[in-house]
């Protein structure tokens, strides 16, 4: 077992194993930091959602807590003007490319975007940003779940679950830039892919992109 260290998060002293990533240490101690793409078991974090910013004493700029190994004596603040601003912008950017009709969403009430909004007092509608959403067809081909790319935030948790937990490899990221999306090989319908409908990806999805069908009613 690695050495235990004591760090301070928002004035609260917590102990953790040295080298553990700050995001998980904070969450384990009931201190919330917004996050979407983080996967605890993943050795090298994606750090792609850009939501888990914190201020660390001695570091000039806010840093992503999912990539930050804890060190003895580290002093962390999960909120600051700069952190709040970055989180708000990243959150609003994600919303600008997200179908915003929570009432009709299968994850309504269990969505991590809603949780972030609630925790940080952010609105679930576009105030500053333009909507960039270009409606894409929903893949309704699997029996047990459906995939709505218009609600996907590209966190990659489904891809990881599919490959590392289920060991299937049916889905991955395709295309680049604004066209980046999660899809099966050749962007074929999931029913035609090697997918065995184990629902590991559905369980991993933090938003309403991959939703089990019985939930839909």
């Amino acid at each position: 077992m690695s050495r235990q260290v004591t760090i301070t998060i928002d004035g609260q002293q917590v102990t953790a194993a040295e080298g553990d990533k700050l995001l998980w240490v904070a969450l384990d101690h009931g201190i919330y930091i917004p996050h979407l793409c983080g996967i605890r078991e993943k050795e090298h974090p994606d750090a792609s959602c850009r939501l888990c910013f914190v201020e660390v004493e001695g570091l000039p700029n806010p840093v992503t807590s999912c990539t930050l190994p804890v060190k003895e004596g580290m002093v962390v603040r999960t909120r600051s003007e700069r952190v709040d601003r970055l989180v708000r912008t990243a959150f609003e950017l994600l919303l600008s490319n997200h179908r915003l009709s929570c009432a009709k969403c299968g994850k309504n009430g269990r969505c991590e975007l809603q949780k972030i909004a609630q925790e940080r007092g952010l609105k679930l509608k576009l105030t500053r940003m333009r909507s960039l959403l270009v409606e894409k067809p929903v893949d309704d081909s699997p029996e047990k779940f459906y995939y709505d790319p218009n609600r996907c935030v590209l966190c990659g948790r489904c891809v990881w679950a599919d490959r590392e937990k289920a060991k299937i490899g049916a889905i991955g990221f395709v295309r680049r830039g604004m066209d980046r999306r999660v899809a099966a090989f050749w962007e074929q319908p999931l029913a035609d892919s090697p997918c065995i409908e184990c629902l590991a990806c559905v369980e991993a999805c933090p938003v309403g992109a991959l939703v089990a069908k019985e939930m839909k009613e």
Binding site: H44, P45, D46, A47, S48, C49, R50, L51, F53, N61, P62, T64, T67, R82, R85, L86, T89, A90, L93, L94, S96, N97, R128, M129, R130, L132, L154, F173, R175, R176, G177, M178, D179, R180
Partner: protein
């Protein structure tokens, strides 16, 4: 003398012997790098080859790389005993055949066509007598355009690979010490100290280590790496082998753009020649050190120039950046410590090893020693590839080296550092060019692309243009870069189309700052630079677009109209009518011409046609209202 140095001296003597007979003959060197070829150098080469054959002359005609005088391509250098070596520019087939008959056959060097001599003499000025030559100091460009890149003997004759022989007689730590002492900073853009990077890699315990040359030059308007690869590939190979020896790697790679076919061809030739001479491969120069170099052709994505994406693409994964640390020097290609250096960085290495750290430090500024290799482009007279000491001011660069602004227009801004660089205004002209000064001013060294802008350039459109490039090249992994740059682009597009709102300008600034602060990799972190700097220095131009619906530089197509000034128009001329592709220009009953605004697609043809005649076609902004298809 050590055995390694003896082996080297023998190679050099051999090279000299091979060359002596050839170098005494008259020689014609034609610059056939990609830039020269685009300007017609291969046809010029053909004329010389045919002329020499036809007249049965004992003259060597050779292909060389790029001298860096883009605006004057194709360039030709002629060595003829009894004359100073002369450099001819803008050589076409006509001039080439005159040079064959008058100079090579006859004895008239055609001074009318000559630009400069390469050596001091009594009859003709040298390159150093021009303001450009005076301000330049060439280290890594010194051989470019003067030696045949496909002949290793010419590189050896100029003391090439001597640094390698010297390095192999030194301890690796000593080499790293020398590079650290020289203060060499990475020329790929960020300016990280090269010696420190090498030291980190050296200090890691690993069964394998790698050195990779990053030749994935992707900035629009940057071509210095291409020129180096095409003009003096052995200089890079020498630097790469030394880097490999210093960090303890046995394998090196050159990650080169697949879009550089000539560079790849010349690199392959260079690699084969270096292997044949025992300068690469097993037991180099009998030192016991073995090193291999392979080429890896990039797959086209701009972001693959970012080192973690570069590694991903070499490992067969999508070229997408990942979080650092770990830095490649600790954990890079195949998980092993890997040094990734730019072409220019590695090209300096042989010079530093040969001449010492002190010499290198004597050039440039204390924090940025050495020279800056810049691609000068845009509205400047003498576009081209230049090498000036760090600390040279932008003013010297633009007005002395570049010869000033084209067509006597007024200078407006200089965009430095490629698509992610910043636009600096006239007040920044006395800024010294070095890593730190540029960064402080909001621009960056980047790849060294310098685009000069004049009064006809709209700063909002320039920002939009560069952002469009980076937005398209975003890999899409992280939120800020994928969506933030797109939001910014939408706002900029609206402003250039006259749909912008005042609050959009503040929002643009906010998003730009957040994208810079929040993005995962260097592409996203720097993409907002053109926007932030134009907002800082040219905010009034944004405001005029929004408040008055007017483009002050008359560049934004949606905010201008083309009209014909009847006072300047001539009744007997109808050049503009013929130039219009959509029949928008028509003849009025009084025989003067006018433009039907409803039909006009603003292609600029009529204006360009009329420019040398009467300058009667003008642009106005804000655009005129279209009423019944007739302009009033």
């Amino acid at each position: 003398m050590s055995a390694v140095l003896e082996r080297y001296e023998a190679l050099k003597r051999q090279a000299e012997q091979t060359l002596t007979a050839r170098l005494e003959k008259p020689r014609v060197l034609v610059g056939t790098a990609t830039c020269g070829r685009a300007a017609g150098a291969l046809k010029v080469l053909e004329v010389f080859r045919e002329g020499v054959a036809q007249h049965g002359l004992d003259v060597e005609v050779e292909e060389v790389g790029c001298l860096g005088y883009c605006y004057a391509e194709p360039t030709v250098i002629i060595y003829k005993p009894g004359f100073p070596p002369l450099c001819y520019m803008n050589v076409d087939e006509g001039i080439a055949s005159r040079l064959v008959t008058d100079y090579l056959v006859g004895g008239d060097p055609c001074f009318d066509f000559a630009y400069a001599a390469l050596e001091p003499n009594d009859v003709f000025p040298t390159l150093a007598d021009y303001p450009r030559g005076f301000s330049e100091q060439r280290i890594i460009l010194a051989d470019c355009g003067l030696i045949n890149p496909e002949d290793i003997n010419q590189y050896l004759q100029r003391d090439g690979y001597r640094a390698l022989a010297k390095a192999l007689s030194m301890a690796p730590e000593e080499i790293i010490g020398e590079i650290k002492a020289s203060g060499l900073r990475g020329r790929g853009g960020a300016g990280f100290p090269t010696g420190v990077k090498w030291e980190i890699c050296r200090s890691k315990e690993a069964d394998e280590k790698y050195v990779i040359c990053n030749a994935d030059e992707g900035d629009p308007g940057a071509f210095m790496d291409r020129a180096l690869l095409e003009s003096t590939p052995h200089q890079l190979l020498e630097g790469l082998i030394i880097a490999g020896y210093a960090v303890g790697a046995k394998q090196g790679y050159i990650y080169v753009r697949a879009e550089y076919p000539l560079a790849i061809e010349r690199l392959k030739t260079a690699l084969a020649q270096a292997r044949e001479k025992g300068l690469l491969g097993e037991n180099i120069l009998g030192s016991g050190f073995s090193f291999a170099i392979d080429l890896f052709q990039g797959s086209g994505a701009f972001v693959c120039g970012e080192e973690t994406a570069l590694i991903a693409s070499m490992e067969g994964r999508a070229g997408i950046p990942s979080h650092r640390p770990p830095f490649p020097a600790e954990k890079g290609f195949r998980g092993k410590p890997t040094v990734i250096n730019n072409v220019k960085t590695l090209s300096y290495v042989p010079h530093i090893i040969r001449n010492g750290a002190e010499w290198f430090r004597s050039i440039g500024t204390p924090s940025s020693p050495g020279t800056a290799v810049l691609a000068l482009a845009g509205k400047v007279v003498g576009t081209g590839l230049v090498e000036v000491p760090m600390g040279t001011t932008l003013r010297t660069l633009i007005y002395d080296v570049g010869g000033g602004i084209k067509n006597d227009k007024a200078f407006k801004a200089v965009q430095i550092g490629g698509p992610s660089g910043g636009c600096l205004p006239e007040s920044a002209l006395d800024l010294p060019i070095d890593f730190d000064s540029l960064q402080q001013a909001g621009a960056m060294m980047g790849s060294g692309g310098v685009v000069v802008l004049d009064e006809d350039d709209c700063m909002v459109e320039i920002a939009r243009y560069f952002l469009e490039f980076t937005q398209k090249e975003s890999c899409g992994k992280c939120t800020f870069c994928r969506l933030g740059t797109r939001q910014m682009l939408e706002i900029l597009t609206d402003i250039t189309k006259g749909r912008g709102k005042l609050e959009d300008i503040d929002l643009l600034q906010e998003i730009a700052e957040d994208v810079k602060a929040g993005s995962l990799c260097g592409l996203g972190k720097t993409a907002p630079n053109p926007v932030l700097t134009t907002l800082r220095f040219f905010r009034h131009e944004y405001e005029i677009h929004v408040k008055e619906g007017r483009c002050p530089a008359l560049m934004c197509k949606d905010l201008i109209s083309y009209v014909i000034d009847p006072k300047k128009c001539r009744k007997l001329c109808d050049a503009c009518v013929g130039s219009c592709p959509v029949e928008a220009v028509y003849t009025r009953p009084d025989q003067l011409k006018a433009i039907d605004l409803e039909k006009c697609v603003k292609c600029d043809n009529c204006l360009v046609t009329c420019l040398p005649l009467y300058q009667a076609v003008i642009k106005v902004s804000p655009p005129l209202k279209v009423e019944g298809g007739q302009d009033k």
